[in-house]
């Protein structure tokens, strides 16, 4: 298994609500970081090691927008430049900790770990549904003890729903319906339509929040990967034969499962997800019910993924077999591999 990740990419490091005017430690791409929000709200990401004796700055404190090391009191401004050294009148000109480009967008704090000269905000993966007034929802972050690519694999092939999530969103239809896979330079898409089926219990209850209906539905799952580690899944059901496959979803309900997975170490990742919907927008209890419901479903994935990573570690000489169902995951890996190879060439 290739465990590398591109450095020249935006990675989510925190939910907007997680980042406060206090120090937060995170590890991204094997680098220890300290994060905080300035008083004006701007996110700051610095290397989590004092220039002087390497104590993690996250063990220190924040005074206004200045980080104070918890060992000898060296201070750093939000650019990472040292602004105070004890018992001397001058400051060593090279005293700096690395600062990383950081941006808040789509309710996440994004960090750029690679060449800062290339950090273009336009490259942040599209997750606009997460703060779009046409959509409502919320999500969580899970620290999963597996390589981030195993989570991408998991999301790119939803046949696992049938077996991992039986009784909620998974049923035989998902494992049996055909699907199409397409890709371009930066994305891979898996499209699956299950037409004229009985809705699984979850979708039946969601549809009834909008339309009282008890019959057959057309169900869709359109999984879109954006390199290196964002997977947005367009999901929903509509009353059978009302034109949903052709684009008219007015007789149905639509959700997006938004996922972005950040490599922490080679064997751990931060899995940020949200579930948003375009119906019943004002109903806060629906938001919480969905968030907690998805949270329980994803705990099942977490269990599988951690066991899978442990099995990979226990069998270092073995590699995966791949099936037809893995096409989406394999395109995703190939696109990411190319990003990594291109970075390593230059």
């Amino acid at each position: 298994m290739n465990a590398t990740f591109p450095m020249n990419a935006w990675y989510a490091t925190a939910w907007d609500v997680e980042l406060k005017h206090e120090l937060l430690a995170r590890t991204v791409c094997n680098k220890k970081l300290v994060l905080y929000r300035k008083k004006d709200g701007t996110p700051v990401v610095l290397e989590d090691a004092c220039w002087h004796r390497l104590l993690p700055l996250s063990k220190g404190s924040l005074r206004d927008d200045t980080v104070v090391c918890g060992y000898h009191g060296l201070e750093y401004n939000s650019d990472g430049r040292c602004s105070y050294m004890p018992s001397q009148e001058t400051i060593n000109p090279s005293a700096c900790v690395r600062s990383y480009p950081a941006v808040q967008k789509y309710r996440f704090i994004w960090v750029w770990m690679g060449d800062p000269a290339l950090a273009d905000e336009a490259k942040i993966p599209d997750m606009h549904w997460n703060d779009d007034p046409e959509w409502a929802g919320d999500g969580k972050m899970i620290e999963v003890k597996c390589n981030y690519r195993l989570v991408v694999d998991n999301l790119m092939d939803l046949t696992h729903e049938t077996f991992v999530h039986a009784g909620s969103i998974g049923d035989r239809n998902v494992a049996e319906a055909p699907f199409d896979v397409h890709y371009d330079e930066h994305t891979a898409t898996v499209t699956r339509w299950m037409k004229g089926i009985d809705p699984p219990p979850f979708w039946k209850s969601q549809l009834n929040k909008k339309i009282k209906y008890d019959g057959l539905v057309d169900r869709w799952q359109v999984i879109k990967f954006q390199a290196p580690s964002t997977v947005n899944i367009d999901v929903g059901v509509a009353i059978v034969d009302t034109g949903a496959p052709e684009g008219d979803r007015s007789q149905g309900v639509n959700g997006y499962v938004l996922n972005t997975i950040t490599p922490s170490t080679d064997q751990t990742c931060y899995y940020f997800w949200a579930f948003v919907r375009n119906y019943n927008l004002q109903d806060q209890s629906n938001t919480i019910e969905l968030r907690e419901g998805v949270s329980r479903i994803f705990a099942q994935d977490e269990d599988v993924l951690e066991a899978q990573q442990a099995a990979i570690n226990a069998n270092p000489e073995r590699e995966f077999y791949n099936l037809n169902i893995d096409a989406g995951a394999m395109w995703s890996r190939r696109i990411t591999d190319k990003m990594v190879a291109k970075e390593q060439q230059t």
């Binding site: 290397e47 090691a49 220039w51 401004n77 650019d79 990472g80 430049r81 040292c82 602004s83 001397q88 009148e89 001058t90 400051i91 060593n92 000109p93 090279s94 700096c96 900790v97 690395r98 600062s99 480009p101 060449d115 800062p116 000269a117 950090a119 060439q345 230059t346």
Partner: protein
């Protein structure tokens, strides 16, 4: 962040004079070049009187895959000896170099930049100008000072990159540069990157410190190589050790003390950390403080000096070290 050096053999590929007294070297390490960010330098093991010493040279320009490292060295007739060694090198010669490390990192978070270079201090600034010139939303101005065009390398490259955002100042023709003008090129958000001889650095720092702008927005790098006086020999008396030694013009006080087994604590060897400070008991002539550790006020008192870089001009000195044990 400071990194331990890993040393490797490298070959001088090209030697080319790029200005009066400035030689450019293209150096290829045995195991290929490593990626570096602008502002980075190489440590080079130079031989001075056949004794290996370490000198730091900024990398010129931006990293390009497969291209050798480029450094430029000014010949200083009375240097500590590094430039003399470097100028003796010919294509094909082998040297030992470290990996690139960066203590003068260009931050990309600002919108407004002022680059200031004096003389050979241009070397780390070239890559910064290249990186900032075409970046949307970034304003960059540059001031490059020297004696005359003939003495200043890379002016053509910089003019191509920056156009009228580059101001060149030739002191032979135009005289002393009025440092107050830099404040007209800057605002309270401007990050300044400065490298040059100590006289220029002191003048910019003083102007900046007296301005309303944040001191943390002034970034600079020094390798402790320049002073207000040309290096001269001087005699050092150390009463505690009942010794009198002569510091040669191409030797540091620290080196001369170590040579007679007088221990002095030190670390950076470029006048930044202050660990090598010694007490001045008496002196004649001028103390040439070449460090960036002591404040201007402390330097003016002439009670302490950094043995790694600072010197005496036109006189001699009596010092004490931190030793308080019994004499053998």
């Amino acid at each position: 962040m400071r990194y331990r050096n890993t040393w490797e053999e490298a070959t001088i590929e090209v030697v080319e004079q790029v200005a009066a007294n400035v030689m450019q070297f293209k150096i290829r390490p045995k195991n290929g070049t490593q990626k570096f960010t602008v502002g980075a330098h190489l440590d080079v093991s130079v031989l001075i009187n056949d004794i290996p010493e370490i000198r730091s040279y900024s990398l010129v320009g931006s990293y390009e895959p497969h291209a050798p490292y480029t450094i430029a060295v000014k010949r200083l007739p009375q240097s500590r000896g590094g430039s003399k060694y470097m100028w003796s090198l010919k294509p094909g010669n082998k040297i030992r170099i470290s990996q690139p490390t960066n203590h003068f990192e260009l931050g990309f978070g600002a919108m407004d930049y002022l680059l200031i270079a004096g003389g050979i201090g241009i070397t780390p600034i070239v890559g910064m100008a290249q990186q900032l010139a075409d970046r949307p939303g970034k304003n960059v101005r540059m001031l490059y000072l020297g004696q005359s065009q003939a003495e200043m390398p890379f002016t053509e490259t910089l003019q191509e990159v920056l156009g009228d955002r580059l101001t060149l100042h030739y002191s032979d023709d135009e005289g002393f540069y009025d440092m107050a003008q830099i404040l007209e090129l800057a605002n309270d958000k401007t990050q300044v990157y400065l490298c040059g001889p100590i006289g220029l650095m002191n003048a910019v720092r003083k102007t900046w410190e007296e301005s309303p702008f944040e001191t943390t927005n002034l970034r600079y790098e020094t390798f402790g190589a320049s002073g207000l006086f040309a290096p001269q020999k001087f005699i050092v008396t150390i009463p505690r050790f009942k010794k009198q030694i002569e510091v040669q013009e191409n030797e540091t006080l620290l080196h001369a003390l170590e040579a007679v087994d007088i221990d002095v604590m030190y670390d950076c060897k470029k006048g930044e950390c202050g660990l090598c400070q010694v007490d001045i008991l008496d002196y004649s002539g001028d103390i040439d403080h070449r460090d960036f550790f002591f404040s201007e006020a402390k330097k003016g008192e002439n009670k302490k000096m950094c043995a790694c870089v600072s010197r005496v001009a036109n006189g001699n000195i009596t010092i004490d070290t931190a030793f308080r044990g019994k004499q053998k």
